[in-house]
Symmetry: C2
Subunit: 313 residues, 2 copies
């Protein structure tokens, strides 16, 4: 049996032919059309047809960013892909290619991949965080993918980590409309915001010599070159990540937190320090149950997970 | 069939004879002995024997504050009851009274009560918060009591809501050793801390006339008398409660958040405002799934839940 896993991103769509065991046999990319549903669907259909020439596809799984209803299978909203708002993508694509199609939130799909064939095999309680431009997250609880009452669950990136006070708010305005979301501290975006905060009080930092706009990659390079403030930016990001992990550990008593995403290129600068902070903030017995590890499947987790959901649903 | 539900608190132990349907037929109290295990166990045994004279007890459930291991059934730690550290209370009590006994974290027991015979009957995803001196919490996910890998899960009160920054921490030191825990904002303790913060900038407030130590009850009375600052303290507490609820809604896509505890005496001052804030902070489709309601069983939820766990386990 062969499954097609599709990971829809803000700029490109990745699709992979995946076998029964979750191994990617072949993969392709197409550009995402964000604002025109017909254009989006054409690109998707063409991508699928390219694979159909080479192999019989038994089912298709699509991971999409945004709130996906497990009741109606409709994508309620997708901030970066306005054309997918209130769309049943499963039906639309299946009508075009005549293959059974399922859809799921992309971060949930990625978590499912690590659960069935990545770092989390055999576990019953785990979280998967993808630290990129934003912070994606998915959860396995009691041995199955947790999506909540209607499939909207798992949005840890949009929980508030800095509520501030009525008289002094936390300042960092998130795309979701809230201030102080985890995503505004633990993500490439968060790294830039933390750097901007720290630079103001450190005119000597090499960060001031960087060309605008700042990016987490540029800040990372300056940190590697030894700039104290740039290093402090990563230390502070690791502190937020560690507290975020401790929150998940105290709330959910997880066995594993798996971390992937582009920001993990700075893995060593983040992981050890985040583990230390998490240990300091979580209950010792709960922390002892949990390992914080790097993703095995990133950057293919979303694609593989979508294929494995097509296999298992 | 009759079950004995026991709710162990920091100052008193409440026990109730509960029927199959979760109705309390008779209840008694004893003082808690916090620092001597033999004394604690004697009080518990005597309490049970009192009931045994009146009815045949089929099983006993005990809710205890602290981390309770679902693997070993040992109470790992109980901050306010040092004598229970590393104790298998199930075994000790069953040996004395010869009745099958199960133990569970008290906040989990309370959540279970609302789930099987309170406000949450028939739901699959709910949270129960007890806002008292601290903030207790228990969760039902996918239709069963969620306790995580080893039974330590559900400690929402000890997740960080104000992480501050490396250069400016959130200030409020929690009993668990962290700064900025939800419990330090949403609890009687939190109300006092918020009042102390606000009074500093408001020398005209009637709060300054209160006798020390401040309590949430005294602050409530001043709020009811119309003092603007005291009212602002409750508004700010409702803001924290609302953000905390939104965090749970975005993370877990719950159908209901049930709130009980002594602080809910100030119910109207808190609930409406908390709902409004939660709505503003949660994803609209996830918020639409969730009702935020007052507990049906408080203050007996812990006792009833312990009895119902004895029935069902």
């Amino acid at each position: 049996m062969h499954y097609l896993g599709i990971d829809v991103g803000g700029t490109s769509i990745k699709a992979g032919l995946v076998n029964e065991a979750g191994r990617v046999l072949e993969s392709r990319r197409a550009l995402t059309v964000a604002d025109d549903l017909n254009g989006f669907l054409s690109a998707l259909t063409e991508l699928v047809r390219g694979f159909q020439k080479a192999a019989a596809i038994d089912a298709i799984g699509i991971g999409v960013p945004g709130l996906h209803s497990s009741r109606t299978h409709i994508i309620e909203t997708s901030p970066n892909l306005p054309c997918l708002r209130r769309v049943n993508l499963e039906e639309l694509l299946a009508d075009q290619v005549h293959i059974r199609t399922i859809s799921e939130n992309d971060a949930n799909a990625a978590a499912y991949a690590e659960f069935v064939c990545g770092a989390g095999v055999g576990l019953r309680h785990m979280a998967h965080l993808t630290i990129g431009t934003g912070l994606g997250s998915g959860f396995v609880l009691n041995g199955s993918l947790f999506t909540g009452a209607s499939g909207y669950g798992g949005e840890f990136g949009h929980t508030v980590l800095n509520a501030g006070s009525a008289r002094q708010n936390a300042g960092r305005l998130c795309g979701c409309g809230n201030h102080g979301c985890v995503e505004m501290f633990v993500s490439a975006t968060g790294i830039v915001l933390t750097a901007e905060d720290m630079m103001r009080e450190a005119p000597e930092s090499l960060l001031h010599d960087l060309e605008w706009p700042l990016t987490s990659e540029k800040i990372y390079e300056v940190a590697v070159r030894g700039d104290a403030i740039a290093r402090e930016v990563f230390k502070e990001t690791a502190r937020y990540l560690g507290i975020a992990c401790a929150n998940l550990i105290n709330l959910l008593n997880l066995e594993m937190i798996i971390i992937g995403g582009g920001v993990m290129g700075a893995g060593d600068l983040l992981m050890n320090s985040a583990r230390e902070i998490a240990q300091r903030h979580a209950f010792p017995s709960a922390y002892a149950d949990c390992r914080i590890v790097q993703s095995k499947l990133w950057p293919d987790a979303g694609m593989i997970g979508a294929a494995m959901l097509a296999r298992d649903r």
